[in-house]
């Protein structure tokens, strides 16, 4: 029994239920904040990977996406994703929750307030859009990027989120993948990873390769930033995955452990590939391997055992380490390997559920656990549908934006550096002389007479 602050003990059942609900709510609040941390984490991760002349722009694309996507999500995105289905399990009603209307009243029967659930989901959209920026680094107009961020959230993210995340309950009809198909995707292997990866590929193909791609050196300018970013992403990912349990309970705990393990084995597997293929295990490989493992465990964290999670990490770490070389073979400029890590990792994680799902953890057994190929088939359909829709819709959207307001930066500006041209800033002022003469205020020539 837990006494209230006035010293009067409350009945056990009511206080137990109240403390469970407040525990769920507290965890969801914290988890949402953790997911937000993944945005600056991604900004560092990507920022360190580009050349020093474009690090600020890369970070701006992620921060800008955060700002625009969240606003659009509240206005209409959440409603499309989680509103009552308009037919076929394809789209939710965009007016039902527009502007978060009707969501503010406290519900004593709910485990958590609907607003924090909606915010939590919106932050998933933020990360998904931010990931796409990595595919088109160094060559993208900032204003158009913000427009793209808003439109893509409405046209691509929200529908796919509806398909896989919106479960039917009572009168409410949700999306087709979650309900009619029965595909398993705990935290977004489809809606986030395959979605962003396919979109990144489409955008990279439509906008074209960077000036000097394949000839000029385009290597990470600050690997320490990349590692800091990977660390922050990992930390935030616990909110992303374990938060998707929507409860502070046993499932969340298992998901937490799986998320932890996949990052660990992802790192080891990527390093093993590097050591064997290139002769050196690198810090870049370590950071990449962690992320690859986390990408693949995102859909599978709620279906596999801890041993299964380790296998997921190994598969993703190894396969993605090999996949990132595809862009040189097929000559597409996926600048920061959104395809090699997020699309491929997302596919691995989503499909591997069909093999490794365990009824100790979830409702079905995968192929390797004696459950037959049924679930595997469902996973393949979900993965394929997401890939096709995302790629096609994004290609069209990017093409339209390029033709109307212009998406790609002038080649001369690209060579000069987007930090300077778009933001009039330099990230690193290492010049011994300071190198700048200030003039403040209107009409003044310089600070000193």
């Amino acid at each position: 029994m837990r006494p209230q602050s006035d010293g009067m003990p409350q009945p056990l059942l009511a206080s137990a239920a109240a403390s469970t609900a407040s525990g769920d709510t507290a965890w969801l609040l914290a988890a949402a904040a953790l997911v937000l941390l993944m945005a600056p984490g991604l900004a560092f991760f990507y920022g360190g990977m580009v050349r020093s002349k474009s690090v600020l722009n890369m970070m701006m694309m992620v921060f800008g996406a955060l700002a625009v996507v969240m606003v659009v999500w509240v206005l209409v995105g959440y409603s499309i994703a989680f509103g009552d289905d308009l037919g076929g399990g394809l789209l939710g009603d965009p007016t039902q929750y527009a502007g978060f209307k009707g969501m503010l009243e406290a519900d004593p029967d709910a485990a958590y307030p609907i607003t924090i659930f909606a915010a939590f989901q919106g932050l998933f959209a933020v990360i998904t859009v931010g990931l796409i920026a990595g595919a088109i680094a160094d060559r993208t107009r900032f204003g158009t990027w913000l427009v793209f961020a808003g439109l893509w959230t409405v046209l691509v993210y929200a529908p796919v989120a509806h398909w896989i995340f919106d479960f039917s309950a009572g009168d409410h009809v949700g999306g087709w993948m979650a309900n009619k198909l029965g595909a398993l995707d705990f935290a977004g292997g489809t809606a986030v990873e395959i979605n962003s990866g396919a979109a990144g590929l489409a955008a990279a193909l439509v906008l074209g390769r960077r000036v000097g791609f394949g000839r000029d050196p385009m290597k990470p300018h600050n690997l320490t930033l990349v590692m800091v970013g990977a660390g922050l992403l990992w930390f935030g990912w616990f909110g992303f995955n374990a938060g998707s349990a929507l409860a502070a309970n046993n499932t969340a705990a298992i998901v937490f452990v799986n998320t932890l393990l996949a990052g660990c084995t992802g790192l080891l597997a990527w390093l093993a590939v590097e050591r064997f293929r290139d002769g050196h295990a690198t810090s870049f490989g370590a950071a990449s391997g962690v992320v690859a493992g986390l990408v693949a465990i995102t859909p599978s964290c709620g279906s596999v055992t801890p041993i299964g999670a380790m296998v997921v990490g190994i598969a993703a770490g190894a396969i993605c380490a090999l996949a990132v070389g595809l862009k040189y073979t097929f000559k597409y400029d996926d600048s920061l390997d959104v395809v090699g890590v997020h699309l491929v990792g997302g596919l691995v994680g989503t499909i591997i559920i069909g093999l490794l799902a365990s009824s100790d953890v979830t409702s079905v057994d995968g192929l390797l656990y004696g459950g037959g190929a049924d679930q595997l088939g469902k996973q393949l359909v979900a993965a394929g549908a997401t890939l096709l829709y995302s790629f096609t819709a994004t290609a069209i959207l990017v093409w339209v934006l390029e033709k109307t307001i212009g998406f790609r930066v002038d080649p001369e500006h690209e060579v000069a550096g987007v930090d300077l041209v778009i933001h009039a800033e330099t990230a690193y002022d290492l010049h011994v002389t300071g190198g700048a003469r200030p003039h403040f205020g209107p009409g003044t020539g310089s600070m000193h007479p």
Binding site: A424, T426, T433, P438, H439, F440
Partner: protein, 112 residues
């Protein structure tokens, strides 16, 4: 012997390097310097405060060469580094009275 000094645009370094290798120049010193001239730099703005960044990043290439190689090297660099726009840089030649290769102690043309 002569010292050939060239100040060129950074993004031209790869072209210059390749062109020099093709004519047999196998050693040079490269440094990052700043140019200040007609190219005028750029302006940065931080919370409304404007800063004129007058210095423009350049690459300086220095080669100690035998007298009879000088003309070809200068021409090679000029052609490879040219963009036609302000800020392309300059190349100049100064006399070198003696040169020593530290590893072997060789002097004169054998050290170049």
């Amino acid at each position: 012997m002569k010292l050939i000094s060239a100040v060129v645009k950074p993004h031209k370094w790869e072209d210059v390097r390749q062109a020099l290798e093709a004519v047999g120049v196998n050693g040079m010193t490269v440094s990052e310097v700043s140019g200040y001239g007609r190219q005028k730099g750029h302006t940065e703005v931080y919370r409304g405060a404007e800063y004129d960044i007058a210095m423009v990043p350049k690459v300086r290439i220095e080669i100690v060469a035998d007298d009879h190689d000088v003309e070809q090297i200068v021409e090679t660099i000029t052609k490879a580094a040219q963009t036609g726009k302000v800020g392309d840089g300059k190349i100049w030649v100064t006399p070198v009275e003696s040169v020593v290769r530290v590893r072997t102690g060789d002097t004169g043309p054998a050290a170049v």
